[in-house]
Amino acid sequence: MSDNYEPNIVAFLCNWCSYAGADLAGTSRMQYPANIQIIRVMCSGRVNPLFVMNALQQGADGVLISGCHIGDCHYMEGNFYARRRLGMLKELMEFIGVDSRRFHMSWVSASEGHKWKEVVEKTVEDAREAGPYEGFRRRRIDW
């Protein structure tokens, strides 16, 4: 593990709650680690769990999925599906030996800028502890 390792986190945020919450954190000038890059989707229910697999394979050291609180989904039920799908993906990933610290899911509402900051800090810290991801990283293939 290199000393100057900085985890690379890919996050999937729903447009209505978490993305807006992350915007609010910005508007409120909260400071959090720059290791996280956000991909906006309309609903956490849009997040195909295989995106997580793909992210780990292509260079992410950690993945975060964030949506509206249960009951608050802009589309009413999307986050229920997200919760079930990603819960099962987590079981699978852990079983093949992907450290659970590389994978987080959260509910952050549009008004929870502070929670977003905490979630990012936790995600980055966990991924840092877990170390650089090698696993089935595509980059391990030389030729």
Binding site: G59, R138, R139
Partner: protein, 337 residues
């Protein structure tokens, strides 16, 4: 150099001397065997009939990167092929298969990737004392001690191996390890004949190929194809594990803005194999695909290269999950002729 004897005790010294090459040797993998780069000093396992994946994977890797590039940029980068390879413990059928496949890779245009790897590889065979239940190499021109495609043949004589050089490469190899070898006497040769003849006795299954290459095209619409392919799963087991199957696909694979051009094994049993961009598939069902597999091995290849592209190793029979048995298929072909 003539045939030599190697005492099995000297095996570690023998391969130690050859360590300037990358050594691939059959190794146990659970209940099965596979070719893998050898750890120093490891013994050559004997209690096996053959590996599941044939050693073609060494000279014709399942995936081979041809070059790498960046999207939107002109430069590309190619891998360097220089390492010499020593393949040890290759069964005669698999070596024969390399010889058969090479005809294809030399036909029309020379395939630089295959031929380069083949040139860098020395193939040391191991004659079969214990053929498997579905071996039928004698029916298709091979045998337990066939030397086609080999540089050197080893025969297990109990405490010793008999080493018979086949090519100049084989002679050179023996010369390099001369210090560990003894001259083989007539006893050894006699013993070899006994071992091989005993082995021949153990081969119970056979195919009568007489008339098949010429007759197959006439059976194009025969009902037998539907019958034998009904249970086919359309998987690649028979073709990927076949030592003579050599089809490949070429893909550009990207990651972000980086890309590589690769070629990888393909299988005529896959639906995508003949799927056109239009959506039309010239071999729309498993019937056509199965028919093609048999025709290719027993007719088209014979037309073009005058040799059956099947070495009778029995892998496709042993490992087909639904008991599609090429010997039985050929029996039905024969019957239909």
């Amino acid at each position: 150099m003539s045939a030599m004897l190697l005492n099995k005790e000297k095996w570690p010294d023998f391969i130690g001397k050859l360590a300037d090459k990358k050594l691939w040797v059959p190794q146990a993998d659970g209940d099965a065997m596979r070719f893998a780069p050898i750890a120093e000093g490891a013994a050559l396992p004997l209690e096996f009939s053959n590996t599941r994946v044939p050693p073609k994977q060494v000279v014709f890797p399942q995936t081979e990167t041809l070059y790498r590039f960046q999207l939107g940029q002109e430069e590309m980068e190619q891998p360097q092929l220089e390492e010499e390879i020593l393949l040890l413990g290759v069964r005669p059928c698999d070596a024969r298969a390399m010889e058969i496949v090479e005809k294809l890779f030399r036909w029309d245009v020379d395939d630089p990737y295959y031929l380069k790897r083949r040139a860098l590889t020395t193939v040391v065979g191991l004659a079969c004392n214990e053929p498997c239940v579905n071996c039928f190499c004698p029916s298709v021109g091979g045998g337990p001690a066939s030397t086609e495609g080999l540089d050197l043949l080893m025969i297990d004589l109990g405490e010793k191996y008999l080493l018979e050089p086949v090519t100049a490469k084989g002679v050179d190899l023996l010369a390099a390890v001369k210090e560990f070898l003894d001259e083989a006497g007539t006893d050894a040769v006699k013993q070899k004949e006994q071992v091989i003849s005993a082995s021949m006795q153990k081969i119970k299954r056979s195919v009568d190929t007489e008339g098949i290459p010429k007759g197959l095209p006439g059976l194009w619409e025969d009902s037998l194809w539907q019958r034998v392919s009904a249970s086919c799963l359309g998987c690649g087991t028979c073709t990927y594990l076949c030592p003579t199957c050599h089809c490949f696909d070429i893909q550009d694979e990207t990651e972000g803005f980086e890309a590589r051009r690769c070629r990888m094994w393909d299988s005529c049993m896959f639906k995508e194999y003949t799927l056109h961009t239009s959506g039309h598939n010239t071999r729309p069902t498993r019937r056509e695909r199965t028919r093609n597999r048999i025709n290719h091995k027993y007719s088209y290849y014979v037309d073009k290269f005058d040799v059956i592209a099947c070495v009778g190793c029995g892998r496709c029979i042993n490992l087909c999950p639904v008991n599609i048995d090429i010997i039985e298929v050929l029996r039905q072909v024969k019957e239909a002729l």
